[in-house]
Each structure stands twice: as C-alpha cells, then as structure tokens.
Symmetry: C2
Subunit: 417 residues, 2 copies
C-alpha cells in the first residue's frame, strides 16, 4: 500500500463511521447474529486458511506458545461465534444519557454517550481478536481498522471476509470495517499519523510492539501492557486459602497477563507456608526463583535476581520473596509491578484496606486469584483487552469503555451575560 | 535544569503523589481556603511581579491580546481567590464508588475513583491558570507539574510560592506541586518522555504548542484545541432569537474558544435575516466575510476564502455562508469545524434532533449561544479547560474528569475454574 492509499482508506473508514454512529440497535444486533452464524458456516475455509498460517509458522520456527495461540480448531471457532452472539445480547452502549443538568438560566444539559469514531487495533497472533474486535466495535458503533500480525494473515482475512459480507448484507456501511492485509511495517507508522481519521489506537501484543506504538503515535493510545502480578500472603492469612489462590494464580493459565509472576510472603508465616506451597508448585512443573531467605527455608531452589522482580514470565516460573509486613509488600509491588492486578490474602481488615488504598493497580484483590481480571469474569460480557492505562479506561475494557460522550444543550434563546 | 535534574524532580513529584492520593478531604479543603487567603494577602507582591512581566512583554512587542491576558489587577487576584474558595466547597471526586457488581461466584467488585497521579500542565500567558490548576489538582489529589510561558514567569512564581507555602503548612506533601521556572524549551521535550512519573499532559495554548506537544509526548495528552464554532440559523428559526444568539456568540467575548467564528444561514430566511443582522454586527465593529450569495444580499462586504471557513479568528471577525438546509449546514461544520461547540437555532424538532445527532462536537446547542461551553456555566464549579479530545474527557473538564478509577475486588478464597 502506498501512503496515498492508506490515507484514502482511512478517509473512507472515517466517512463510514459517521453513518455507523447513527445505526439502529436492532440492525446492529441482526448483523452480529448473522456474523456469528457466518463463522460457523465458513469454518472449513477458515480452518484450511489457518493451517497455512500454522505450517508456515512452524517452518519459520515461531515459539510453541505463539503457535498455540495461532492455531484454531472447530471448538475455538464455535467459541468465537458464541462470543459474537453474547455481544449481540448486551445492551447498546451508545445513546445513553449519563447525566442531566438543569441550569438556573433554564438550559437543559444532557451528557449522552456517542461512539469514539474510528479505532485502530494493532495485534499479534490470536485470530479470535479479529472477530471479537469487529463485534465489539460494531456493537458500540465504532468503525475499526484491523492490523493483525503477519503470522495470522490468512486466517484473519478468512474471518474478516466472512464478517464483512454480513455487515453489508445487513445494510450497514461496509467501509466501516477494514483490514490492512499488507504486512509491511511502514504502514503502521503511517496509520499512527492519521490524526484526522483515527480517534483511538489500541495495541495488543508484546512489550516492544506497545512501546513502539506509544512512541510513534500522534493519536491517543490505550495501552494493553504487561502484567507483572503479585500475590501477598499476609501474617494473618488463612494459609490453606492462600495456597489455593496462589496455585490458581500461577498455574491455571500461566501464559496470560493476569497470571501471578511474584509471590510475596510475610516472614512470620514463611516457614509454615513455603515448604508445602513450593512442593505443590514444583509438582505442577513450576520453576521457583527465590530471594535468599526463601532459599534458606526451602533449600535447592534457584536464586532470584533483581531482573526477576520486573519480569512477566508468561510461563511456569515464579519468583518468591519474603517481606516484613504489608508496607514492604506494597513498596515492592509499586517498585517492580506493572499496575495490572495484585492480590492480598489476609484476615486483617486494616491490612486489606491499606493494600486496596495504596496499591495503585487497575485491579486490587482481597482473598481472590488475580486470574479474575477479565471482561467476562467482571460481568462485562466481552472485552477489548485489559487497559494498563489510567486515561479513559482502566482494567477490563468492555463496550462501556468504547464510547465517548457529547453534551446536548437545549435552550430557548439563552445568551451569556 | 539538566536532564538528570528533570528526572529527579519528576521522581520526587511521583513519590509525593502517592501520599497526596491518600489525603483527607478536610485537610485538602483547609489547605485550599488558606491558599485563597494567601493570594489576597500577597497581592501587592504578586502585582509588582506581574508589572515586571507586563513591562517586559510590552518592550518585546507581544500582541495586545496577549498582554491583556497576562495583566493582573486587584480584582483579577480576588477572582482567583474566589475560584479557589469555590473549589474548596465542591465535593471530593476521589474515593467515590461508581459501580458495584456482585458476581455469581461471590466476588464483590467495586469501581472506585482514584487520582490520575501526576499531571503536567503546559500553558501560556494567563497567570490565573497557575492558581486554578494547583487548586483543581489538589482537590482531586493529583500532583501537578506546571510549565507556564516565559512571558508570565515572575507572576507565576509569585503565585506558586504563595500557594506552596500553604500546602506545606497544612501538612500536605510540598513536592506534590512543582513549577518549572527554567524557560528553556528543551525541558518540555524531556518532560514529555517521563512516562514513569507523569500520567497525563494537558497543553493549553495556541495551535502550534498543542501540535508540538502531541507529536513529542509519549505520555497520554488531553488536547485543549481551537474552537471554530458555528451557529446555523434554520428556515424555521425565531429570527429575533437567532439574532440575539448570534450576536452574543460573536461579540460578548470574541477572544475565547467558544465564540462563534462562522454563521450559517438557511437560504429561505437569508434575505429577511441577514441585512439587519449584519448591520448590528457592523455597528459593534465586527468585520464580515461572506460567501458570494451573502454578498449579493448585503453588498459591500468582504469575500470569504476557503481558508476563512477553517479559521479561529479569536477577534471581531465573522465568516457568513448561506446553505440550502440542515444537511448542508452539518456537512459544512463537519468539514471545516473543530468539533468544539456548534449551535442550531430552529423551531423544527426534527432538524434540532438531526443536528444534535450528526454534529460530532463536544457541545451541541439548540437555541442557545455557544458561549455557554464553560465549566462554571455547566455547573461544574471550575474547569481545567475545554477538551477537544474524545478520549477520557470531552468538553469542559472539571474535577470529575481529573480522576481515574480502580477495581477493588473482595473475595473469600475464589479461584478461577
């Protein structure tokens, strides 16, 4: 694609976004249901395109975790369709009156939700992101430009084509969804300067992708950054509960951003808690990296370096540190964490409150696993990802976070004095 | 300041922001009242420092409008103090529960407002911004780094010093407000890369300042951009009302972003409406620039060029265009406007609704002057400015827009299945 072609495409999407903004809820839902059905109907084609991507990925030596994310199956396609059906059932986030003010001069001011406009999504590997994003954007009347990773390009095109056909069939503007099939990196840089057409950029992927987008973009960005999540086992914790929570947070699905990477343990319970806990982790194949005190309690485990405390392993690896009290735990989290999801296990209400107040993360847990940071688990129905930013949206981003608002002001001739 | 000194300062402010985040409402309000009183008490000193800035500005040939903005008087200082007293009386935006969800698994999820952290404000000329921003940030428990224009540096330092003394006296962290007194431009570029310390950048000033900040910043920015505001006089308008609204929107205070810059008139009422309206404008010293049809109805006025439709005059100049219908008016606004504030004057409910739905501006008015786009007029008590962005905050930005939120999740041992 030439720069001129990119500009033209963005302009087309922007113009389409204006009519999409006015689309009727019923028509949007009808289109969504048709899209879900289309994925099921076209699953043979989608799977055969996916096999092309997977075999190329294997030949080029992509890591196993990435290949696992890339690979589709009939049941994964049916999950994608179910997710679209679920989005069709959610309430329309557009056109809601958030607030009404009547001023002394008679002006009536209504704060009403409106779509953001055009959203650019830059993502890697997982083809389900294509379907989720198209559905969430359509439901929130946002136009969307998708730029997936080159490793999933055939799969993404197959999914996108099936969805777009149904959009047009429903009478909605076909240009309100677009996919950049050209995998040249330069194109991303051009897109990030299209301030006149694109209203928001959401990068989803590895650290380096997100960092590059943040540096280059002239358009507002909502980052979906890494999760260096902690669980702190307090002095007064129910140790059986702590064990189950920590085990779940690390082992249930280690490759995701809300999995625990560092376990902090209060010194007063360390000798009682750690040997049994670590044995359970090791039995599940978890590699433990401990500070010197942990290693003196449980000999034979690897030492943790300063780098470990900063690391999102996304794997069956856990760093363990012993701390004096809740204050030291909070200080560690604020220094090394990524402000995503952190938990305390305690029976002490003051410590729980202190942890909730002072840990400046999107989601702060008392006596529960960090794995619950998820749009579905939060009851939002579906999610665009987990924002690690504080501006606009924080934590799981659902439909409500995909809108802006405008003020509609009704007068009868008011002028300013 | 060296880059290292900038980094150190930002780190100090960030650390202070953590304790400010926990500050008690009563103590914040006490500090605010003391700050307002301190401005009054120190007004002689502030005025004498202001005279230095003004005389230098005159010598260096700054435009009259800028000198007017820069100049303080005892009454302007008392307005500043009143604004701080008003902020003290407003509700605390921090610690509010926005939403509570109880999940089927027993998890209780509370969405609670929290400060953004550290806000960098880059502004020009008006010294009252210094006092307003310190007060709004303190009330919302945000630390703030102020970078005012070099032309107001002595005034800004005098105001800042008086305010900071009261912050410390109230027992609040003194490092949670900082002013960059070094006026070297390089420092702004360095600040805009301090992603680890600064959470939000708000630029307030001319177009070129805002554009440069947007290009350079790696930190989220909320733009306070220009206002090319329109009033459309519809076929069914009460023409007397239309005249008063248009006159007010242009003349009452032409130098501000919510003043009207372009008047659009429906063809069917143009001959009746324009001659009288334009006479009234000209009597008030307004220069009219019209399209060819306007000039054929009212001979002797200047022609408007395509550039005029894009221009924020901030002055007693108005461009006038005749349009066929509400659709043409909307199309003009969407092409040439800045999505700030636009109005329709009409008695036709369908046209009013169409205008409200299709004009994608922060504030859309029916039968009222665009001059009402203002935090005070909207009942927000005070404002940080008018956001022309759609992300996070749109339109007048008050205390409620200066917070983020976190999810506090209460469990009793929940783990994810």
């Amino acid at each position: 694609m030439t720069n001129n072609e990119i500009k033209k495409l963005c302009g087309k999407v922007k113009r389409s976004s204006r009519s999409l903004a006015l689309a009727d809820t019923k028509i949007k839902n009808k289109a969504l249901i048709a899209m879900g059905k289309a994925l099921l109907k076209n699953s043979a084609h989608i799977l055969s395109e996916n096999r092309k991507d997977v075999s190329l990925a294997k030949r080029t030596g992509l890591p196993g975790a990435l290949i696992e994310r890339l690979s589709l199956s009939p049941s994964k396609i049916s999950d994608m369709a179910d997710s679209i059906f679920a989005i069709a059932k959610l309430g329309d986030p557009v056109g809601k009156t958030l607030e009404t003010r009547k001023r002394p001069n008679g002006l009536l001011i209504k704060k009403v939700t409106v779509p953001l406009g055009v959203i650019l999504i830059i993502y890697e590997s997982r083809p389900n992101v294509t379907a989720d994003c198209v559905a969430l954007c359509l439901k929130s009347s946002n136009a969307v430009i998708l730029r997936g990773g080159s490793e999933a390009i055939n799969t993404n095109i197959a999914i996108f084509t099936a969805l777009k056909k149904e959009l047009v069939r429903a009478g909605l503007p076909g240009d309100s969804i677009a996919m950049i099939a050209d995998t040249d990196r330069r194109i991303v840089n051009e897109l990030l300067c299209e301030t006149g057409s694109i209203d928001l950029v959401i990068p989803r992927g590895g650290e380096s992708l997100i960092r590059e987008v943040t540096v280059r973009s002239r358009i507002p960005v909502i980052k979906h950054y890494k999760g260096v999540c902690h669980t702190y086992v307090d002095a007064s914790a129910d140790l059986k509960m702590a064990e189950d929570i920590c085990f779940n947070a690390k082992v249930q699905r280690p490759g995701v951003c809300n999995a625990m990477e560092t376990m902090l343990v209060n010194r007063s319970v360390a000798k009682k808690f750690l040997p049994k806990m670590i044995k359970r982790f090791e039995k599940a194949g978890v590699e433990i990296r401990g500070d010197s005190e942990t290693r003196s309690i449980v000999p034979g485990i690897k030492p943790a370096t300063d780098d470990d405390w900063y690391t999102e392993y996304l794997d069956l690896i856990l760093s363990v540190k012993i701390v004096k009290d809740v204050d030291e735990a909070i200080a560690h989290i604020m220094k090394y964490g990524s402000y995503h999801s952190d938990a305390i296990v305690t029976r002490n209400k003051n410590n729980a409150q202190k942890f909730l107040d002072e840990v400046d993360s999107a989601c702060v847990y008392v006596n529960a696993s960090t794995r619950f940071t998820d749009g579905g688990e939060f009851g939002k129905g579906a999610e665009m990802g987990i924002s690690t930013d504080k501006i606009h949206a924080r934590g799981p981003m659902g439909l409500e976070e995909l809108v802006s608002y405008k003020y509609a002001v009704y007068g009868n001739g008011q002028v300013r004095k």
